[in-house]
Symmetry: D2
Subunit: 370 residues, 4 copies
């Protein structure tokens, strides 16, 4: 497929919600229309082309127009839906004898795209969606990825959209929890998202004046945390805020925890519950948890995320116009650029324990549990 | 003590935090200064006069000036602190033989007020603080109460400050949880404050487009809730939001719950956890909890609450000027008035299950579990 | 037309935008669907039925479903549009000789409603739209009005939706202007909406800690304003905030202004400009204007307005079900009720200069220019 | 003065307000306390040491403690004040014959610092304050600058605090103006700050879905703007939003404007008024102005700005510890670094008309007037 032959592109969104998805869709749509291309939105990940029977009205793929995208920049969620019914690369199917096997049905999607005469695709999604995009690229689909993770843990790009919104709301919640903690003279242990990387905990904890911040990159020593907290309590300041990333974990074996446990907590709240339980033996104050995880995924994107999303979307269309495929748009401050998807996936971007923001936190008097 | 002889008043805040406390303090201060009175703030409930030894710098009672209160209207928390060390009416003290008994030490507070030449007091607080204020009134202290409860469950006043702020933030959180619920195809069970009254759950649930709202005033039938939810799921809408007041409880004995259990949940999250557990047997979707309780107490008051608080504070000073004592300021839309504290305390204002807002909720298609 | 025979209703929105319109539409739609009725939305005031040629796709009237209204509660604006092309009661038309005359074309709308088999109408709008609704009522159309004015100046109802949102945003802007005024040592004269009534200025000014509030109900004496301001400036506080309603006016003839001038300012900013000009002769500080009018009409409704709007919409459908027509839903705290439209229109609800809120303002030390 | 000998530092804030000043003060204070240093805040720029007579209570310089800075991160404004009474380098003084001359009184400040035994200074301010800091550096004062401009137009640093807050609020206002513009079918011409650089206009205009963005870096052709606008109006979309930087100007001589006029507008609103006047001849729609300038300077910093400010403050103390002087902290994503003040001052960072964000804007269909 040659550069310049594009007449019709598709865009889709996969995985969990992230504020800014609609702004990316808008930018893709407007940028493509400016070039005289037609734009189609695939519903629910790839379902719109993969499982058309689920769309009896034939709206598994919808034409995106200027009118449709005009007012969506500030809307949370995605007008296209994100929910795949299973991974098409490993689709669970029943065999004749009743056992379930995983089947690669990605060719059906490639054919589905052809059926709609789609010349190229902008795939917005996280690690899983980008892996899938790369497979399609190998099968000859002209495709460009836009990275999506509110955890900000994707390698290869300086920032991702949704992260600023998540940090902002987490900080607002932490601000409010100061009042509760203070009037009840308690320790509030606030858990935020971040299974493998502590970016949200770090940025919201520093901005929200936390006393302690625990992240997966710095396994914590609960005794040091407790000693620190006991040292901060005064007549005037008899409460504390501890911000914990979902994947934070204690470093000693005293609690039978090993490093690889990081990020394995079964459910939201696990990390905070563990901290509360451990602290109960070591500090005299009551400690309570507040689990913010569920609250951080939704909502209208901040202005920062809106602009970032629009730039990601426009850059994706530029990449397609330049004949790129198999690449992901990456934000390298101050510009947008492209890198091979292969370089981006499977590698986490984690917090540098000796980096400038952690150092700032320490200089502000925050304890990181080490 | 005669009307017109006031030269010096005190103001204090007791109990949990509520957005608007500082605005009440400002209005009391400014209104009193306009009348040529001096105003003093008692620190930490009554501690500032009761336990002066805790304030080695002699700042248990501080002079409030126009300068000090100028910019506090929009600030969350209270510049005076709320935390009593125990109820002075039932103060725990050790006897000679080591047992602990509850002693009435309220006379020490009355004397403390005299020591500072306080002619009258504005006491801002909830049921407990108002009860205490009434005791002081009986002991000859000229005192006017300002009601404080973000649950809006205080009898005798149409509205209380802090409630609009709590409902607003709860609604914002529910808005965000729609996105999480949708992208994960889950039922989110959101617990909000309201041990005895469902006002916050009702108002935030209706405003936040909940599918189900469970409040203490309407014991719920979990089977009806489950049937309702199962009936709402479609291809397009395969998630749900259930808002639960802290004190909501099931009506049948199947779960060994009796009416008097309402409001007895030991900790935040109990009501939501119960709903999730019960639903797990009855619906096929995953259900998860989000506990907002801790988040709703703090933060900057909404404009509605700011104005209401300022009006409460100014009305309290007017009441003192008119020679009132033992009364509580009450909001009877559209004006402020006074009622005897005795009429206000100990009586809950609960949601009328046949009232207009519940009816609106039903007409919007919301299920109340009955 | 008998009670109980309703099968199909229509809803429309007229006049300027007000946050909460979509919530009313949602409540009307859901409440009607609950009763087994069909609901249609008329586009752009009555244009959808009046001037169908403007809707070549035949979408001048659209079916409203649960799906369509599901997520609109928190959206600003109105999904139906508000813009009439001229008043159908006085529609400008060209005669044969080229002059333009005003023609009553309301019968075409009545016929248009019949063409769609509309049994009853919920008309959401201000004074003009309600007057029109009353005309349709007289012509036999079963119609219930929902009052809309963000100025809160409509007689017959305690509150109207959109007002709380306007006051909230005005207050947020005033909060911010304190910083600008302070760092530049200036007087900021902030103009807000309120041509005939000072509700927005009063509530936002008191909540936003204004020094001076000028409203149409209290003609101001600029010399008193200047003297007051000159008296407030100190080393510590060398700036001021003056909040002016659009329709505020000076009371003396020195500026050749007469009472009936109130509300006649040709354009936003006129009232503030006049104050700045007058103050320039009387105070030594620079004064600048900030005109908020345009900013106050839009945006997502506050939770307070969301709930109020939903209750208005549900009450309108209840009124239709009860066989009412020619009435307007009115909020009489704490319930919704109905009053004849004739009692509501043409009468302003203005601020009582001796009322409780003004009194609170004075006790806070605010100058009202008198 | 040797590295390591620091025992006592001072911090001050100069020039206009910017959200984040208090967070910088907090970080400077906490970072210094961590190192065992004492920290003092100079009031009102340098007034606290320069004109001590203005502080009769001797509080021209105040000790900053952990207690004082604990809760200031999220507060707008500056707890120290910013207002110099005149530039100490060019201080206006009356001579014997009554004429006024400008005198360099900076030595008095150097002496004032010595009087308080200040070993080093962190000076937070814009171009003027940094120039002054450099002068003090030359006179032997150990001093590090922190750049402050909400216009984001300071050379040498990728970002400055306060900018994200200003862009965020401008975008929120533009969002709201869409509703007003739409319901009145008007063109809203929104003026934002940016005398020499169009950063705020560009970022808020793109995020806020403006139709046209006019910035100083791209002199505009009003005819092209009018033609563009006339081409965008449809039945569905009969309104428009034009965002104008304060310093935007037309490129042709038809309006007798020359390039050097950029940034010379005498007062806020000039640029918007000119656009409205010019458009009135060329488009049929009404156009109105909304001047946001005054609103953008104040308010609580966004989370982004909080974190940035804290990092700036901590980095300034690190610079002092390392023995730096005459340098300014600069944000070079992702880290903080230092550059000589001389390299930073007097050079503007303007929008690149061919850069990636402008390009994104064009691809979104936005007109930049060229």
């Amino acid at each position: 497929m040659e550069n310049g032959t594009i007449k019709r592109i598709a865009v889709n969104t996969g995985g969990g919600d992230a504020p800014g998805l609609n702004a990316v869709i808008k930018a893709v749509t407007m940028s493509a229309i400016q070039r005289g291309w037609e734009v189609y939105g695939i519903r629910d990940g790839y379902n719109g082309v993969f499982l058309p029977a689920q769309y009896p009205n034939g709206d598994g793929v919808i034409r995106l127009t200027q009118e449709i995208v005009k007012d969506i920049t500030a809307m949370g969620g995605t007008i296209l839906g994100t929910t795949n019914r299973g991974n098409p690369l490993k689709f669970p199917m029943k065999t004749a004898n009743g056992t379930v096997v995983e089947v690669d049905r990605s060719d059906e999607i490639v054919e589905g795209l052809k059926r709609y005469n789609i010349d190229a695709v902008v795939a917005i999604g996280g690690d899983g969606s980008l892996t899938m995009a790369n497979e399609f690229h190998k099968k000859g689909v002209r495709i460009v990825g836009v990275p999506k993770t509110i955890d900000n843990d994707l390698s290869g790009t300086d920032t991702t959209f949704g992260f600023d919104t998540a940090v902002s709301f987490a900080t607002e919640c932490i601000d409010r929890l100061h009042y509760t903690a203070k009037s009840h003279k308690r320790i509030m242990v606030v858990e935020v998202m971040g299974r493998y990387a502590g970016w949200i905990a770090l940025n919201s904890g520093v901005s929200g004046s936390a006393d302690v911040i625990l992240i997966p990159e710095i396994p914590y020593d609960i005794k040091k945390v407790a000693d620190f907290l006991n040292g901060t309590f005064t007549e005037e300041k008899d409460y504390a805020i501890v911000v914990v990333a979902e994947g934070a974990f204690p470093r000693d074996g005293g609690y039978a925890v090993i490093e690889k446990e990081a990020g394995k907590s079964e459910r939201l709240g696990g990390a905070a519950d563990k901290v509360v339980e451990q602290l109960s033996h070591l500090v005299k104050k009551e400690a309570r948890t507040a689990i913010l995880g569920h609250l951080l995924r939704g909502g209208s994107p901040t202005t920062f995320d809106r602009l970032l999303s629009l730039r990601f979307g426009a850059a994706a269309v530029r990449a397609l116009e330049e004949g790129q495929s198999g690449v992901m748009v990456a934000h390298k401050v101050p510009n947008m650029t492209y890198i091979p998807i292969e370089e981006a996936i499977g590698k986490l971007k984690t917090v540098n324990p000796d980096g400038e923001t952690i150092r700032t936190g320490r200089e502000l008097g925050i304890c990181f549990g080490d």
